[in-house]
Amino acid sequence: MKKNELWQATPQIGESQIDLLSRLSNAFAVSGDEGAVRKIVLEELKDIADELKIDALGNILVTRKSRQKNALRVMVAAHMDEVGFMIVNDDGEGLFTFEIVGGIDNRQLVGKPVLVGKKCVPGIIGAKPIHLADKDELKKPISVDNLRIDIGPGNSKKVKVGERATFATRFFQNGPSMFGKALDNRLGVATLIEYVKHPPENIDLLAAFTVQEEIGLRGAKVAGYALDPEVAFVIDSTPANDLPTWDEEENYRYNVRQGAGPAIYRLDAGTLSDPRLINLLVETAELLEIPYQFRQPGKGGTDAGAIHTNRSGIPSVSISVPGRYAHTAVLIAHLEDWKNSVALVHAAMQRIERKILSEER
C-alpha cells in the first residue's frame, strides 16, 4: 500500500478522542474492580462489534472481522486496570486502613486526595505534621501501615471495607502535554477503542481490553487463550525516566524519552518480542516517517508476557506510549507521542500479511 493510503486509514486523534481519554483517565478502575472503565468501553463499542463478550475475569473481548476470508487473526491488547488501594479496615471516625494494589512507591501517597468506593467518596491521605516529626523520622518514607485514608469524621458508613480507592486527580492539558492519573494504561484503552472503530480491513481484529495487568498479567493470559490469535500487539504506557541526573552526568537509564515517539520493546522482564513484528513496526515507521524509539531493554513488562506463551506460542510485540511518572497521582504524556503510537501500530497492521509468520524468526 502507498504511504498516503496507509496514513488516511489510520484513526485520527482530535478533540473527541482526547475527551474520551479524559473520561477514561478520570474513571476509577483498580485491578480487580475494572467496572467503570469496562462501562465506558462497552458504551463506545457495543453497537459496532461483530462479536463482544465479557469473560470469566472481566476482560472485554471484541472481534471485528475482515471482509476477506481467512484473514490473519491479529490480537491487540490494552489493560483497563490501574494501580490503587483497597480499604482493609474501618478504624472508626472516618479513618480507614488501606493496602496498595499494584506497584506504588509509598513515597507517592502522603498528602493526596483520593476517591473511595463505588460512590466515589472523597478522602485524603494525611501525614503527621512536620512540626511533630523528629529529624530522623523526616529522612524515612512513611510506611503504608502509618497512613490512613480520612474521609472526615461523621458518617463513616459511606465507605465499606473491601472497597477500592484511587487518586482523585482530574485530567487536564498544558501545552504539548496531557496530565492525569492512570494514563498507564488508559492511553492504550483509548487507542484500542479507536482501532475497533476503525479496524484495518485486511485482518480479523481481536481486541482484548484486559483486567488485572498490574497484579500479574492475569486477564491477558486467558484473553490470549480465548482469542487464539496468530500474532499479538500489546499497547501500554512505559515510564519516560528522561529527567536530568542530580550530578549533571548524562542519563543513560532513561527507559524511553518523552516526545521521541512510540517505544518498541525488544526485551523486558516477561517477553522477547518477535523480531519479525519489530521489523514490521520499524519499516512502517520509516515508511511513514513516524518517529519511534526502542525501549531500553530491562525490567518491567506488559500483557505480552502472558499472551506470547499461550497454546503453542503467539508471536507478540509491545508498543508503549512514553509517559512520565507512571504509578503516581499524576502522569504526563505528550499528545504527539500518543498520536504517533496510534498511527504506527494501525499502519503496521494494515501492512501485515500471513507470510510474516513463515519468515525466519
Binding site: Q108, K112, G152, R253, Y325
Partner: protein
C-alpha cells in the same frame, strides 16, 4: 453557615505565599469591608481593619491577628525545562512528590512536583525520603517555552482544590491559616449584631510562616491593649496522638503558657463556660508557634492570648478542618469582646488567676 464555608473555600483557592500576600489580601478586604469602619494596608502588607466600639474615648482596643500567608515554594534553578525549587515556610519534603502546583511565571501555569527515579539520584537519596533539592516541578511544557516563561525566584503554590469531606469538614491547602481568617470574619459578623465597648482591630498578618514580621509590626502601629493570635493547632489523627494534639470538631483550643496572659485566658475560658461553647485547653510550655510570640513583646509588652482551631495534616495540601470549630471560634471571640468592660484592664490581677482544669 453555608456562606462562611463558601468564603473559606474561595480563600483556600488562592495563593498568597509569605511575602506575596496580595491575592489573599484583596479577597479578605472584600470580605471584611462591609463589616468594619476603616480598612488599610500596613507598610509590610498586613491588612488592618477597624470596627469601632461604642465606649467613651479614649477607647481601649483589642487586636485579633490571623496570619493570611501560606507556605509554598520558589524556583531556584531551571534544567532541561524542569524547575528546581526550595520551600517558603516549613515544608516536609515527604509530602511533595505527586502534588499539583501552580507556577507563577510570566503567566500562571499548572505543574506537578516529581520525584526522579532512584538511579538518577545520589546513593544517599535512594529508597529514602528525598530532599527537596532533588525534586523537580514539571509543567509539561517544552524547555524553550519554560525558559521564556519562568525565572529563578518565581513562586510556586499548591493548587489542590478545596474538598468537602464528611462531618461538615473541609480539606485543602492553606487552611493554616485561612481557617482563622474565616473565624475572624465570623467574629466581625457576630459583632455587627451586638454592642461592644472596645474597638476591634481585625488584622490579617503577613509573613508568619517565615519571620513573624506582621505580628511584630502591626501591634506597634495599632497599639492595642490586648492582642489575640488566632491560628491552627494539631488535631489528633493518624501519626498524631500525643499531648500536643487536640480533638477535631471539639471546639476552639485556648492556649496556656508563657506566651499567654493568664488573666486574658481566664476571661475567654469563663465566657466559653458561661455560654456552653465547647472548647479545649492547649498547653504551650514554650513558644506558642503563633503570631502571639511576636505580639507579646511589641513596645512595652502586650497582654496576649492564643486561640487555635484544631487541624489535621498541617502543612500538607490536604489540611483538614471542621467548620463547626471555626464558627465556634468566631462566636467565642465575639462574645468575649462584647463582654469586655471599658475598665477591664484595671481589673487585671496576676494573683486571682486560678488555673482550673476545664
Amino acid at each position: 453557615m453555608i456562606e462562611l464555608k463558601e468564603t473559606l473555600k474561595s480563600m483556600i483557592s488562592l495563593p498568597g505565599l509569605s511575602g506575596y500576600e496580595k491575592p489573599i489580601r484583596d479577597l479578605i478586604t472584600t470580605a471584611w469591608e462591609p463589616l468594619v469602619d476603616e480598612i488599610s494596608t500596613s507598610r509590610l502588607g498586613s491588612l488592618h481593619a477597624l470596627r469601632r466600639g461604642n465606649g467613651d474615648l479614649p477607647r481601649p482596643a483589642i487586636l485579633l491577628a490571623a496570619h493570611m500567608d501560606a507556605i509554598g515554594m520558589i524556583v531556584t534553578a531551571i534544567k532541561d525545562g524542569l524547575l528546581r525549587f526550595t520551600g517558603i515556610g516549613g515544608i516536609d519534603p515527604r509530602i511533595l512528590p505527586g502534588q499539583l502546583v501552580t507556577v507563577h511565571g510570566r503567566s500562571d501555569m499548572p505543574g506537578v512536583i516529581v520525584q526522579p527515579a532512584d538511579y538518577l539520584l545520589p546513593a544517599s537519596q535512594q529508597r529514602c525520603s528525598i530532599a527537596m533539592e532533588y525534586l523537580f516541578v514539571d509543567t509539561g511544557l517544552m524547555a524553550d517555552e519554560v525558559n521564556q516563561l519562568v525565572r529563578v525566584g518565581d513562586l510556586i503554590s499548591f493548587s489542590q482544590e478545596p474538598m468537602e469531606l464528611s462531618g461538615n469538614t473541609l480539606a485543602g491547602h492553606s487552611l493554616d491559616n485561612r481557617a482563622s481568617v474565616a473565624a475572624v470574619t465570623q467574629c466581625l459578623l457576630e459583632l455587627s449584631h451586638v454592642q461592644h465597648a472596645w474597638d476591634v482591630w481585625a488584622v490579617a498578618t503577613v509573613q508568619e510562616e517565615e519571620t513573624l514580621a506582621g505580628s511584630i509590626t502591626s501591634p506597634y502601629e495599632i497599639k492595642p491593649q490586648i492582642a489575640v493570635a488566632i491560628d491552627v493547632t494539631f488535631a489528633k489523627g493518624p501519626g498524631a496522638s500525643d499531648w500536643r494534639t487536640l480533638s477535631l470538631a471539639k471546639g476552639p483550643c485556648l492556649g496556656w503558657g508563657p506566651n499567654i496572659h493568664p488573666y486574658i485566658y481566664k476571661r475567654f475560658a469563663d465566657t466559653a463556660e458561661k455560654l456552653d461553647i465547647p472548647c479545649q485547653k492547649e498547653y504551650m510550655p514554650r513558644h506558642s508557634g503563633t503570631d502571639a510570640y511576636g505580639m507579646q513583646v511589641v513596645g512595652e509588652g502586650i497582654p496576649t492570648m492564643v486561640i487555635s482551631i484544631p487541624l489535621r495534616y498541617m502543612h500538607t495540601p490536604v489540611e483538614l478542618i471542621a467548620m463547626k470549630d471555626i464558627e465556634r471560634t468566631g462566636r467565642l471571640l465575639a462574645e468575649t469582646i462584647a463582654r469586655l468592660e471599658l475598665d477591664f484592664l484595671d481589673t487585671i490581677s496576676w494573683d486571682e488567676v486560678d488555673d482550673e482544669e476545664k
